[in-house]
Symmetry: C2
Subunit: 274 residues, 2 copies
């Protein structure tokens, strides 16, 4: 049970953890975040996530207000207060309390602790479906709080029994899903994933690192038309690791079951993470 969060350095009871309504994250969607998980006190790639958080902040001209070690200390104090070290940690940084409702001032930093996300084992053994949607994020390399496009698609995802939405541009080139990176394995057994105009997922990076010893890799854009001939597909994300994708829109991937190379990568990543 999560009882506390942190607001601007102060540990507060969850129900009192709030920001004034003049906050620019609320009024103007001017905010960034990052998220990582911890299991029995062992964080998954925490330093990678924190480094990306600082990079996102810099690109949005926001000041985290604490150095790397001071930020870590806040996270550990929060975990101690909550008395549970199997959890998710979300950091959110906004443009602060804007007097004019527009111009960023001194940032607000909040740290939320969440329960550890446990996914139904079926998504790993049977794979998931994705829907597709034409959409280009305006600052894909920054982890902003801008997610209304996918949230509006929740009903469509439910109807298609899909777990996420795969974004493509007006020419049919795939970038990523709303909350994960997307990979295919082609007929020759080559791993392919986009490298430009995407959020560089921490799990994406570690997946490529373990993949090096398993199969050839090509980092380039994937076209929607390639889904018809791909033999395997999967997504990578912080909370899920690698998840096989068996259907995208109306295209069945391969034989509609998680592929053998994907399973090999899942096992390799699991060893690296835990």
């Amino acid at each position: 049970m999560i009882k506390f969060h942190v607001v601007n350095g102060e540990i507060l009871p969850a129900e009192q953890a709030s920001l004034n309504i003049t906050d620019l994250g609320l009024l103007r969607g001017y905010g960034i975040f990052d998220y990582f998980q911890m299991k029995n006190g062992k964080p998954f790639f925490m330093d990678d996530h924190l480094r990306r958080f600082y990079r996102s902040a810099e690109k949005m001209q926001l000041d985290v207000g604490y150095d790397f070690e001071a930020l870590k200390e806040q996270i550990y104090r929060l975990i101690e207060a909550n008395g549970t070290d199997t959890c998710g940690i979300r950091l959110v940084l906004t443009g602060g309390y804007a007097i004019d409702g527009f111009t960023p001032v001194s940032s607000n930093l909040v740290i939320l602790q969440h329960p550890f996300k446990v996914w139904d084992e079926k998504i790993f053994t049977e794979g998931i479906n994705l829907i597709t949607h034409e959409y280009v994020r305006s600052m894909p390399e920054v982890k902003t709080t801008n997610y209304y496009t996918v949230i509006l698609l929740i009903p469509e995802m439910k109807a298609a029994d899909a777990l996420d939405v795969l974004y493509y541009n007006s020419d049919g080139w795939i970038s990523e899903t709303s909350r994960s990176n997307f990979f295919i394995i082609d007929e020759e057994g080559k791993l392919i994933t986009a490298v430009d105009k995407i959020l560089h997922g921490i799990t994406r990076g570690h997946t490529l690192a373990v993949a090096k010893d398993i199969l050839p890799i090509e980092e380039r854009n994937i076209h929607l038309s390639e889904l018809k001939t791909a033999s395997e597909a999967f997504v990578t994300s912080t909370t899920k690791g690698i998840v096989p994708v068996v259907k995208v829109g109306s295209d069945i991937i391969g034989n509609g079951k998680p592929g053998p190379l994907t399973q090999k990568l899942m096992e390799a990543l699991r060893l690296r993470r835990e």
Copy 2:
């Protein structure tokens, strides 16, 4: 001096007017808003703004939670509490306190009262500059809280002594500025403004209504190349009404001074508003 705001129907001292940090407007930028002004108790086109607020809510699958009259009553109670009826009123509606940090639940509605925005008279008598930026809003017809693109351009605007940024797509077609609609008057004295993929500004609509008796109107997209030959240009917005534009990027509009037809429209709109 503004002392109070409204949070979910409750009038609260400004410094206590807050939302819990699990709010989806903060965590995921999932929110809409609207804004109107009032002078000596006379609101400028309040009903138009409130109707648009309900339309935005519907398109974002959000429930305002109050009917039109109940919402108005809250606004008037707030104005009474603050003791000043010359002001700006901002309504913000979000996806609520999301347990999973993602899925909208019962909405949060906040109403902020702001001081009446008084602009330097020079922007009306001398006109303003705009910078340009390639950007396509993903749901232009909905007044979402998504403004980080323009906020990141504040330094560039300052450097160019510009008041706003004019968005155009990859083919050079102009949509609107970040916070107003954009019009040109061509060499033949015809008024032209975009009609598709824009936010339909309340002031835009009233400007077109008064323009009918003054000059011919064409509602169609404007290309960046037309700026070189336009004889006049202006923007329309809630807080400013009509403001002449004398420079866009490096293009001087007409003779670099507010044009006579623009001034005629400004006067006609002023009569309609006040």
